[in-house]
């Protein structure tokens, strides 16, 4: 048994290395955001700056419409989340509850959109948004992101796990399809539903590429886009300020993840199992 514990220690060693590489950049980002300019360059590696300074944050708040960025990001993420959740739940319900010709093909058609390379879609979608006059508006960002093929897939997987007998019991009691969905299925899949919505929200909050194309006007920026203003590729950047914005951008996902970590991990664990 003794060699077994020694072996286990080696494995823990591997994991500690991975944990360090994973977490250190985050710690580094947060600590840098509390350093003044001299600390940034003189005690770069020190994870616990002293004295800590809030100058970076006050500078950002004073010179940039940060709250506008936060609101823009939130608005887009909120609409996307609600819509993706709704469309996923409704179509997944149809796939689970009803039986019709070409059901599998329709489902595959939805799932397949997940694999269409984004570059194939961006240009035509950009042209469409431009034609509709939606450039520089949240709607331009939101419209092509109202459905999610993976979301439909995950919701269907989850709903399939509700025992059929429960649905039948409700049907026998005279429940209409709508009531089967709202009174039986939805309450039973609440944790997975919540986890999915949180992931939709986090992903939309973090999205950089598509908003970059649509939002060119600085006032319409989201947080990830605003980040770009604080760096220059040549290196002469205000690192403290950049890290402060990075930290602020990361805060909502980190908080959401902190609270719902168990839900999220479980949903992810189940998404890998193909059905």
């Amino acid at each position: 048994m003794k060699t077994e514990t020694r072996n286990e220690l080696i494995w823990h060693g591997f994991l500690v290395v991975a944990i360090f590489l994973t977490l250190w950049p985050i710690v580094f980002m947060i600590s840098t955001s509390f350093k003044d300019l001299s600390q940034v360059f003189e005690s770069t590696l020190n994870p616990l700056p002293w004295p800590i300074t809030f100058d970076n944050y006050t500078t950002v708040l004073g010179n940039f419409p940060l709250f506008t960025y936060i609101w823009n990001t939130f608005l887009i993420a909120a609409i996307v989340t609600v819509s993706k959740t709704l469309t996923s739940v409704l179509s997944a319900f149809a796939f689970v509850y009803y039986d019709f010709k070409y059901k599998e093909s329709l489902f595959n058609g939805m799932l397949l959109t997940f694999f269409i390379p984004i570059t194939v879609l961006v240009m035509p979608n950009y042209l469409m948004m431009s034609k509709l006059g939606l450039l520089n508006t949240p709607w331009g960002v939101v419209l092509p992101c109202l459905v999610d093929g993976m979301g439909v897939f995950l919701m269907r997987q989850t709903m399939r796990c509700v025992p059929k007998a429960l649905l039948e019991a409700a049907i026998l009691d005279g429940a209409k399809p709508r009531q089967v969905l709202t009174k039986v299925i939805m309450p039973l899949i609440k944790p997975a539903l919540l986890a999915n919505s949180i992931l939709f929200f986090i992903n939309s909050w973090n999205e950089y590429f598509w908003p970059l194309l649509i939002l060119q006007d600085k006032d319409s920026y989201t947080l990830p886009l605003a980040l770009q203003m604080f760096i220059s590729a040549e290196g002469g950047s205000e690192w403290g300020i950049a890290m402060a914005v990075a930290t602020l951008t990361s805060l909502p996902p980190l908080i959401l993840y902190g609270f719902c970590q168990k839900f999220i991990i479980n949903t992810f664990m189940s998404s890998g199992v193909k059905g």
């Binding site: 007998a165 429960l166 039948e168 019991a169 209409k176 309450p187 039973l188």
Partner: protein
Amino acid sequence: MEHSIVFSHVDKAYGKTVVIKDLNLEIRRGERLILLGPSGCGKTTTLRMMAGFEDISAGELYMDGKVVNDVPPGERNIAMVFQSYALFPHLSVWDNITFGLVLQKLPKEEIEKRTYQALDILHLRGQEHKKTHELSGGQKQRVALCRALVKQSPFFFLDEPLSNLDAQLRQKARTELVKIHEMFRPTMIYVTHDQIEAMTVADRIAVMNKGKVQQIDTPDTIYHHPANVFVATFIGSPAMNVVKARIEGTKIVIGECAVEIPAEWLKIVGTRKEVIFGLRPEAAKPNFDNAMVKGTVDFLENTGNLKTASLTLSDGQNFFIQDSNQNIDLRNVSGFDFDWNNVNLFDVETEMNIGYVKE
């Protein structure tokens, strides 16, 4: 109209696989009909067709005189107890029981009256605020019954409702079920693979196999006069002995032992040269020196109240005999005697019961 549910030439197929072929079944109003059969025999499919969960591929299904082939389940006015109970885990006992009544928008007083009555009948008073996962298996089963009861439907379906209970609870639940049925007398259709349940609960049993009803009759008739070899060997434990026997003149040869056939049986046998001889183990009386049919003992089993011996007849066929007399030692048995009143004869080709002499 005397029949409450009628199957008329009903077929059920999934794609090209035919599960049920030309099913004809008439279920009487208020009776307890048990659908009994091995797994895969089509009994659950039959029940689910009545509930409306399975389409009917061909033929008509009548309920209360009307064709219901295309009536959705929710409009058939059925109360059902599922094998898994199908209790809603997110609802309390009370909300589970009243689920359908609330959907029907019944007045509050009526809902409460019915629910309290049902809770009382099933001794669940005081449990109504619990969540279903706090209940024991037996309580869950009773909540499921309660939910069916409050609907006061003319049709009461049960799909293996006791199979998740342990043996002792099962017996209690069985009696409870019959008692409740006697109170309200809905048409009760009960699917099971457990023959003891079938024998004790049923007014009539429909024994099914391979998508066909093999026999539909009272438990007594089914036990003593099975319609065919399948029913004979499906009911009873150990099942009815069925052995091939030759007819030689006025004698039947069972395991090389010739036995005189009584006159009334000769008429039934007719010109057959061979028959299948059926006899329940408990109808085979052990004989220790000069048995009608001789055999040697393979092994013995004692279940306390019964002693069972497996005999090998002289032609190699097996035969079980059973006796409740604890003072005899079956080890030395030489064979068995039988009374023609207990005999069933089956045709070799069709395996159908060729008739019996009424006592």
